[in-house]
């Protein structure tokens, strides 16, 4: 304050009132949110809660390591990986044709543009809406719905990943096509090439690396997501972890959590390796 008072008015930061206003506004906007969520840090140190947590955490050591249990952990880990792999593969099958179909620059009628270009754009619009619908609902919600439809187990997880990640991949693929330059594809279409041919000869060569890189990153996300979806009954490591936690079996929870951590670190390393190898 003394410094500010010592400065002549002309030397004060002209942005100071704007900054004060922004901070005040942010606090005003946050306050109702804090009230609505009943955010109460005191609950963390409440003696009753602390005792339950303490008991649960106390059981973490030693972790459950019986041979029978480790077999279950191994099987669940494989199931989680399988959900992620099959989910991503199906998502790719959903996304790849959709991305080619919804890319505006691969449109024949946009050359010129032809007289019916507006109509053709309108026809493609529902497809774009469909892509938004696919990725607009989180995979966890799809998993919840699908567990009701196809029952507990990995199938629900795989389908949920295929739907949401299919939508995400379709959108990002289309963005990659547009950003890596489409002059080559348009030149091909100007000499009579069809949309699909123009894609494979004009767009894919420049887009492939980015596509692979993003798909590998999505696979890494799918590994994490398939653990989380297990909590709502969609199979794998998450489902077992949820069972152990519900029974407050700290030793088992500890082993599952450690496995989960290892798996995510592994996925991260694999994903990094692929993306660096491609860069």
């Amino acid at each position: 304050m003394q410094v500010a008072a010592a400065l002549a008015p002309a030397e004060r930061d002209p942005a100071r009132w704007a900054r004060v206003a922004i901070v005040t506004l942010a606090l005003l906007l946050l306050w109702p949110g804090i009230r609505l969520t009943e955010f109460n840090p005191a609950a963390l140190v409440d003696p009753a809660n602390l005792r339950v947590m303490g008991q649960f955490l106390g059981q973490f050591f030693p972790p459950a390591l019986s041979q029978e249990f480790l077999l279950l952990v191994g099987r669940s880990t494989l199931e989680t990986l399988a959900i992620a792999n099959v989910g991503i593969a199906l998502a790719f099958l959903v996304a790849f044709p959709l991305s080619i179909a919804t890319t505006a620059v691969l449109s024949q009628s946009s050359l010129g543009p032809a007289r019916d270009a507006g109509l053709r754009r309108a026809i493609r619009y529902p497809l774009r809406l469909f892509v938004i619908l696919l990725r607009g609902i989180p995979e966890l919600v799809w998993a919840l719905l699908l567990v009701r439809a196809v029952g507990l187990g990995a199938t629900a997880g795989v389908l949920a990943l295929a739907i949401t990640y299919g939508g995400m991949l379709a959108k990002v693929y289309a963005e990659i096509y547009e950003s890596t330059g489409t002059r080559a594809a348009r030149a091909l279409m100007e000499s009579g090439s069809g949309r699909v041919q123009a894609f494979f000869y004009g767009v894919l060569p420049s887009s492939m690396r980015e596509m692979v890189s993003y798909t590998v990153y999505r696979w890494e996300c799918a590994v994490r997501a398939s653990v989380i979806m297990g909590f709502v009954g969609a199979g794998g490591l998450g489902q077992q972890l949820e069972l152990s936690m519900r029974m407050l079996n700290g030793a088992e929870a500890c082993t599952f959590l450690a496995t989960f951590l290892l798996l995510v670190m592994l996925a991260d390393a694999v994903s990094n390796f692929f993306r660096r190898a491609l860069a």
Partner: protein
Amino acid sequence: MTAAVALALKRLTVMREGERRALDGVVLSIRPGERVAVIGPSGAGKTTLLRVLATALRQTDGSVEILGTDPWALDAGARRRLRARIGLIHQAPPLPPRQRVVTAVLAGRLGSWPLWKALVSLAYPLDMAGARAELARLDLSDRLFDRCDRLSGGQAQRVGIARVLYQQPELILADEPVSALDPALANHTVGVLAAEAQARGVTLFASLHAVDLALAHFPRIVGLRDGRVAFDLPTEQIDAQRLDQLYSQEGYLPTQEGRPFEASRNRPLQSPLCK
């Protein structure tokens, strides 16, 4: 299927960015098998004209007839088949950097190949001999399996030309096809294009910055300035005065070497390449 005219433009006008007229009432008629060069200062509308003829751009006003049809009256499928009969050589070759030369050349026939053939050829080039033959005409057959981003600017430009040669279009359009080549190679390459058009009896319409190349290889010259046809004459009738007027703001006549064009006034020109 030979039409009476390869190209017919009537009062062709193209507006760019709202009010500016890139082309303003262009009238032009070219018979099948003719070789015509279009010259003119930068910004005269040469590229716009070529894009209209390649059906990449639809005119704002006036009419266009290409290989006997109005492309914009056709349905999408017929327009695609028409486009397969037109080959445009771009000034900057539109080649994906990571694609191999052989694939880039074979892409010329995507308009006539069925989809399965295009996809198989992506995995294993189906007509390597055909691609090699076109590259050989342009002294590039040794680069068949190089990636396009390993090529120099001049080599990439010739790969773009090889693609259009491989396409075997009935109408060859070229937009500054040799701008990245040295004078000797430029002369050879324009010669290959002219010979191709002559041998197959197809129409060649090319824009060129180097006036001497236009005079040496084309029997008919169209001068374009400010989006209008300034002159449209047999090459013998082009003299220095006309060229002076066409390029008057630039101050000198461009040649391949970038030196002023040496010619005496009011006398038919003899190109240095016409020996």
